[in-house]
Amino acid sequence: MKKVGFISLGCPKNLVDSEVMMGLLQQNGYTLTPQAEEADVLVVNTCSFIESARQESIDTIIEMAELKKSGKAQRLIVAGCMVERYRAEIQSEIPEVDALVGLNELERILGAVTPRGSSPLLPVLPADFFDSTPTAPYLYDHLTPRLLATPKYSAYIKIAEGCDLPCTFCIIPTFRGKFRSRRFESVIAEAERLAASGVREITLIGQTTTSYGEDLGLKDGLAQLLERLAAVEGLSWVRTLYCYPNRVTPRLLETIAAHPRLCKYIDMPLQHASAAVLKRMKRGGSGDIFLKLLERIRATIPGVSLRTTFIVGFPGETESDFETLCDFVREAKFDWLGTFPYSDEDRSQSHQLDAKVPAAVIRQRQRTLMALQKPISRARRRAMLGQRLPILIEGPATESDLLWQGRLASQAPDIDGKVLLTEFPDDQPLAAGSFGTVEITGAQDYDLVGRVVENS
């Protein structure tokens, strides 16, 4: 049977798509290999939501196309966002590509790997496919096979697909279609199956998780879902990413506060704090409104860890707007903060806006904002010195086998910092994927140092 090499680029949502495709391949008898040189078929699952991601995708496709010429691989398949956006261009510009699998065609990966009939290429969907389709068709469920690419103790669950929000900078809805939630019981069933297989930490994802259930007629759907997930036997930590600020309801906060298994963690991309910029982004809100929301979150969930992201250099962002953002960041004191330099995507509404900010100014503003956050992050980390906290022990540190690493409930996988572990009780052997208690002995701007005082 053919060996398939898989490269997955982009965010956790794309990773889940890769896991679904790999699951389908494995279920149908294919062998998967992380070594591209060994593969008979190469699959690149692409990301194209901003310029840098697009460039990385193109570079990877070209690199794999070279491997097809010089190596063992006989077929090259491109999947993901790039296919939706540049289907015709990929076909015409990179003839080494044998098949394309769009976001709503994941199940067709099988036909792409081993084509039937004479045509090696999957049919090209019309350019207006998504515009003319009110609800894009594909969303996996608990019966769909998934081959997890995350450590065995941790998994993502995609609870919804698509997005109906009108953010002018974002082109993802044009790829992923209108918002649709997975069935409530399907999510629970998947969580139970994952827990039974040894997963201890679940991270819920979607374009906007706080919209979960709206299309199913559920009120406070995410809060209801979290409440049920908190009762799934075997799970220790459940967290959710990608909250939209005006959908963070009191019930959601109360639910997170009430259940020990729900991580006291809110990831809420705010994108900006200037009302004028937020209006041009078609998001609404302002720094003052967000500060009141943060106050409510912190009052309802004591000790909550807050993560956000901002876009700097959005068209029309003035020096004054940027100062407003800086003032907001100083006051808000986020635990984790990331910035995206504005990427002018030609299919986005914001592409049509005037007053574009020069690239050099965007870069400078990004540096300024990150420098401003640094002492805030340091202070947040240093406040943890001496504390004893639950920790998920992950295994040897990425940087050195002499150390182990773990994460606190306030540290989401991949995106936040970690705790480097230097010491363990002599009588308690370590086990990766287990939980323990760590005493924080060192704190930097990003990562922490600690010693395990108890390992369950």
Binding site: G10, P12, G338, A397, I415, T422, P429, D445, V449
Partner: protein, 56 residues
């Protein structure tokens, strides 16, 4: 460090490391900044005093 078990560490399928670019576009500066302090905890005395060697 004492005994350890890697039983539940590895993923069912490990994707190539290049997958891990996920959030580099927006991540906060400083990833990995606790490595040196962690080593200082493990090895309070420098194994080799490179600075002294250079200046002597």
């Amino acid at each position: 460090m004492v005994g350890y078990s890697l039983g539940s560490f590895q993923p069912t399928f490990k994707l190539p490391d290049r997958t891990k670019h996920l959030h580099e576009a927006c991540e906060m500066d400083g990833r990995g900044d606790a490595l040196e302090p962690a080593f200082q905890t493990l090895f309070p005395e420098p194994l080799v005093d490179w600075g002294a060697r250079i200046t002597s």
